[in-house]
């Protein structure tokens, strides 16, 4: 090991590396590219993972959404293509029958209306909701509060609006809380302003009003447009989704095999798909990265082998001057390790730089689900160590080739 700390060893390596510039450059590019790809791909994969995680972030991922469509099978005297609606009765039945499975259930009714405040107006979605919505999809409130049970009981004419609606309908600097605005010509008091999450959001800019108020104002009677359900911990959500749909089919005289009558989305399943995609991407990344790395290392070995051949005469001279096979081997291996190390470090540096630039470019852009693209230090360490080990092993071949010939044969080489 002493030779490692000998400045002469490095002097020799420096000399030969400088001498064989093309070799040096090609080698460095080979390995650099490999580790660069590994770093960037892993970082990007991680960034996407972070991005999707955030996307689903403040949404309860164990959610199921259910709505009605048209039947596709005639049943019990009904024609196919029948339209029907969810009702509050359904909600009560589900709540009692699935009390173990269901954690939260939010029935919802929605429409689009003109919102007017003084001389400003805009067309927005209006949604009749229960306070429980805030638990399923957390609302980030800028001012005031979200709907509460009192609002429901008293069928209060109150509304919670989004930040954009506030900006569009109110003058700058006006405190919106307590102000009135007209929805469909009826006055509502603004009790809160929220910032829509930049993650998945089914509502967008919506004016939330109490479910009961909605029912009265829009005369929806018992009807429910759709519902959001979240499951208790440990519930098999897919099973719950199936069971609920079956119960609902029973309640609405829909054929049990009807595929179209009810629409539903299982958020957990959708997330699972995305997660699967991310895992697949990570796998691909590793595969590509490692393959490139190995290719890079082989390139080093190959080039070393070529240059060893080119340098046979030089090696012969060195041996005539008293270089032992060991010292020749050491030098060649050290050259290989040195080159891989330098190239690897450059690759890591450039890779990190690119990740940094990507991060800087997309961090302010919510449309691209890429957040904090980083690479684990241990992973890089392992990749790096592998690289050096491979570099050593691959360096052994030309080193061995350089020492098995008799010195005179090496010298005779032109």
């Amino acid at each position: 090991m002493k030779f490692l700390f000998d400045s002469d060893t490095w002097q020799e390596i420096y000399g030969s590396i400088r001498k064989n510039k093309v070799r040096t450059v090609i080698t460095i590019i080979g390995v650099l590219w490999g580790i660069f790809l590994l770093v960037v791909l892993l970082g990007a994969a991680r960034g996407m993972e972070n991005g999707f995680n955030k996307l689903f972030g403040n949404f309860a991922t164990n959610s199921v959404f259910v709505w009605t469509q048209r039947t596709d099978t005639p049943f019990k005297g009904f024609q196919e293509g029948r339209r029907f609606r969810l009702t509050m009765n359904d909600i009560e039945v589900l709540k009692s029958e699935y009390s173990n499975e269901i954690k939260l259930l939010a029935p919802r009714n929605q429409t689009n209306n003109l919102l007017v405040h003084n001389f400003k107006s805009g067309d927005f979605r209006v949604s009749g909701d229960y306070p429980v919505l805030d638990q399923i999809q957390k609302k980030q409130l800028l001012y005031g509060r979200f709907l509460n049970d009192n609002d429901i009981l008293s069928t209060a004419k109150v509304t919670v609006i989004s930040e954009d609606m506030y900006i569009q309908l109110f003058d700058k600097g006006v405190n919106p809380i307590g102000e009135y605005l007209k929805i469909n010509s009826i006055n509502y008091k603004v009790i809160g302003v929220y910032k829509p999450s930049n993650t998945i959001d089914f509502d967008g800019d919506t004016a939330y009003i109490p479910f009961t108020t909605y029912r009265k104002v829009y005369n929806t009677a018992n009807r429910v447009d759709w519902m959001m359900i979240t499951a208790n911990e440990g519930t098999n959500i897919e099973q719950m989704e199936k069971d609920i749909l079956l119960t609902l089919k029973g309640l609405h005289k829909v054929h049990p095999e009807d595929k179209r009558a009810f629409g539903s989305v299982n958020l957990g399943k959708e997330i699972g798909k995305v997660t699967g995609f991310i895992i697949g991407m990570q796998f691909l990344t590793w595969f590509v990265g490692i393959a490139t790395l190995i290719a890079g290392v082989f390139a080093i070995g190959n080039i070393l082998l070529i240059t060893v051949k080119e340098r046979t005469k030089e090696i012969g001279i060195r041996r005539a001057l008293g270089a032992t096979p060991k010292s020749i081997r050491q030098q060649i291996i050290l050259e290989s390790v040195f080159l891989t190390t330098v190239a690897g470090m450059l690759g890591i540096i450039f890779g990190s730089l690119v990740l940094f630039l990507i991060d800087a470019a997309v961090s302010n852009n919510d449309d691209i689900p890429l957040i904090n693209p980083t690479v684990n230090i241990p992973i890089i360490f392992i990749a790096f160590a592998t690289l050096i080990v491979l570099g050593t092993m691959i360096g052994l071949i030309p080193a061995h080739m350089a020492t098995i010939v008799k010195p005179i044969e090496a010298l005779r080489e032109e």
């Binding site: 001057l321 008293g322 270089a323 032992t324 020492t403 005179i408």
Partner: protein, 230 residues
């Protein structure tokens, strides 16, 4: 210093083998200045390479400094070369990307000498061959005669017991040949054993003993006038 008895060497050529050295007996004592002459292909280089431990003989005995050379592994012969032998080649064999000074210092590197010290010693030897001012030049900036003198300095820098030179003047004109021969004579005067291959009678005349080789055997071995003049 060098004792060779019934030495044989063949090169395999395909399935056949070419018998190059056919029983060489040669004794070279310490401090001798010997030249080998003979037509091309007579086996001179082969003999010198065996003496220089760059090649292995097939049969017979070879003693270098009273040590029987047999079943040497590469490591041992590398150390022996470094310790006892200095080489001068017809084609100089300098390392192209190293300066004259670094070339001369290289054998000392393999001896394990510190950089500072070996550069100092190497410079002394460059001075000795009259090339101190050329220390930091690369080989391709030197003339043939200068290159050969650098090579001689490199052969001498480890203070070897024997200097082996395979046609050291083969690529030089007569003036530079003389300067190289003067150097070799000086070395010999200092007590080093010098063993040269040459084609030129004038060169051989300047050594003290001429061994003539023909078809792998020694046909004559006599002292020169130069040796008697001393």
């Amino acid at each position: 210093m060098i004792k060779i008895e019934k030495l044989h060497k063949s090169y395999p050529i395909g399935k056949d083998s070419l018998h190059v050295l056919k029983g060489i007996d040669l004794h070279i004592k310490e401090g001798e200045f010997v030249s080998i002459m003979g037509s091309s292909g007579s086996g001179k280089s082969t003999l010198l390479n065996i003496v220089g431990l760059l090649d292995i003989h097939d049969e017979g005995d070879y003693y270098l400094n009273d040590q029987l050379i047999k079943d040497m592994n590469e490591k041992k012969s590398a150390i022996l070369r470094n310790k006892f032998l200095g080489f001068v080649f017809q084609s100089f064999n300098l390392i192209s990307y190293k300066t004259a000074l670094e070339n001369v210092a290289l054998p000392l590197y393999y001896k394990g000498m510190s950089r500072k010290e070996r550069l100092k010693v190497a410079l002394e030897y460059l001075d000795k061959v009259g090339l101190k001012d050329w220390a930091n030049h690369l080989p391709n900036e030197l003339s043939g005669g200068q290159k050969q003198r650098v090579a001689i300095a490199r052969a001498l820098v480890t203070k070897p017991k024997v200097v082996l030179a395979d046609e050291p003047t083969g690529a030089l004109d007569s003036t530079t040949t003389d300067s190289v021969m003067d150097l070799l004579k000086d070395i010999n005067d200092e007590g080093m054993t010098v063993f040269v291959i040459t084609h030129e009678e004038e060169v051989a005349e300047q050594t003290k003993r001429i061994v003539r080789l023909k078809d792998g055997v020694i046909i004559s071995d006599e002292l020169t006038k130069a040796s008697k003049a001393v």
